[in-house]
């Protein structure tokens, strides 16, 4: 478990490091950049479909992304709890 903790801390550090060095950026999504790249390569291309639903505003989008992460993390936490509980019971019954 110690090893896992070490890996987790390292993963967070790795994700946070760019923030220390880059201050001028708003870290926009790469999709938007791709859109611009496409418009440079093919200036006459017109997108022919629109998203059915677009979250209104950045805050709502953040909310929905958090919901996605929270639901997933909740499921992972539950399953890990189930496995851990099962293992503990087996230890006790020995």
């Amino acid at each position: 478990m110690k090893r896992s903790l070490f890996l987790l801390v390292f993963a967070v550090l790795l994700a946070a490091t760019p923030l220390l060095f880059i201050h001028h950026s708003n870290f926009g999504g790469t999709d938007d950049r791709a859109k611009k790249t496409i418009q440079v390569i093919a200036p006459h291309y017109k997108p022919w479909a629109q998203s059915i639903f677009e979250p209104p505003g950045g805050e709502v989008q953040t909310l929905l992304f958090s919901v996605q992460a929270a639901v997933g993390a909740g499921i992972i936490g539950y399953i890990i709890g189930v496995y851990k509980g099962r293992e503990n019971r087996r230890e006790e019954s020995k």
Partner: protein, 246 residues
């Protein structure tokens, strides 16, 4: 001490990518409408057979081994979480990992085709991230090629007797990278460079995203190993069952 040397090496990588030249990053998913109609149809047609194989594999696993359902849910949830993590990159933009490597390593590539597609559908419908017309292409890169590459690396690692944790790390690492390679290939095919054609376009895209994506793929590898560590401690019975093949 070996661990610290690896950490030092990875830290060196981070520093290198931080100070290497900034350029615009590349996309995780192709946005709605940004793929010409004929490519939309093409990628949907390529994707659908894989989805059918995936469904059949998933149904077979859950029917023959109902006790593995929890692990399948865990793999799906892992993809769900990781693709919600918008991690800032050294190029000043953000992108997210895919998380399909874990499930591919556990269940083989086919079950993850379905899991990855569900996550993509969710993001296309609710987050305007990716799109329904581009879903075939996006699912091909993230839910088909990603898991296949991850599983391939896992098999290689087993064959070459590489320590299991490193095998898992590299399986997740390369499944993440493969997703981005395919995405840029798809875009290069649809939007070839005016002078250099598809190849020039691909080199342009792939070169750009490689710098952005490598730290992200390392993060994904690390998180996958964390979950694997836990499973090998508390769920060894399921893992050995999977090891024998489901």
């Amino acid at each position: 001490m070996k661990k610290w040397r690896a950490a030092l090496f990875l830290f060196g990588l981070v520093v290198y990518f931080t100070f290497s030249e900034s350029s615009s990053a590349f996309a995780m998913h192709i946005m709605e409408g940004f793929l010409p109609v004929r490519w939309v149809i093409f990628w949907w047609l390529v994707f659908l057979p894989f989805f059918i194989i995936g469904m059949r594999s998933l149904i077979r696993i859950t029917r023959e081994h109902p006790e593995l359902k929890l692990l399948i849910a865990l793999s799906g949830a892992f993809t769900f979480v990781l693709s919600a993590l918008k991690i800032p990159s050294v190029t000043g933009s953000s992108s997210h990992p895919t998380g399909v490597g874990l499930g591919a390593v556990l269940f083989g590539p086919w079950a993850m085709v379905v899991m990855g597609s569900i996550v993509l559908l969710f993001q296309a419908l609710l987050l305007a991230h990716g799109g329904l017309t581009t879903l075939g292409a996006n699912a091909m890169s993230m839910a088909v090629v990603g898991p296949i590459v991850g599983y391939g690396i896992y098999c290689l690692g087993k064959k070459w007797n590489i320590p299991r944790r490193w095998t898992i790390f590299f399986a997740a690492f390369f499944s993440d990278l493969a997703t981005y390679v395919v995405t840029s290939l798809q875009l290069a095919l649809a939007f070839p460079d005016a002078t250099g054609g598809v190849f020039a376009s691909f080199v342009k895209f792939a070169g750009i995203f490689a710098v952005t994506q490598i730290p992200l793929a390392i993060t994904e590898g690390l998180l996958t190993v964390v979950v694997w560590n836990f499973l090998s401690t508390y769920s060894s019975r399921e893992l050995s069952q999977l090891e024998r093949g489901v």
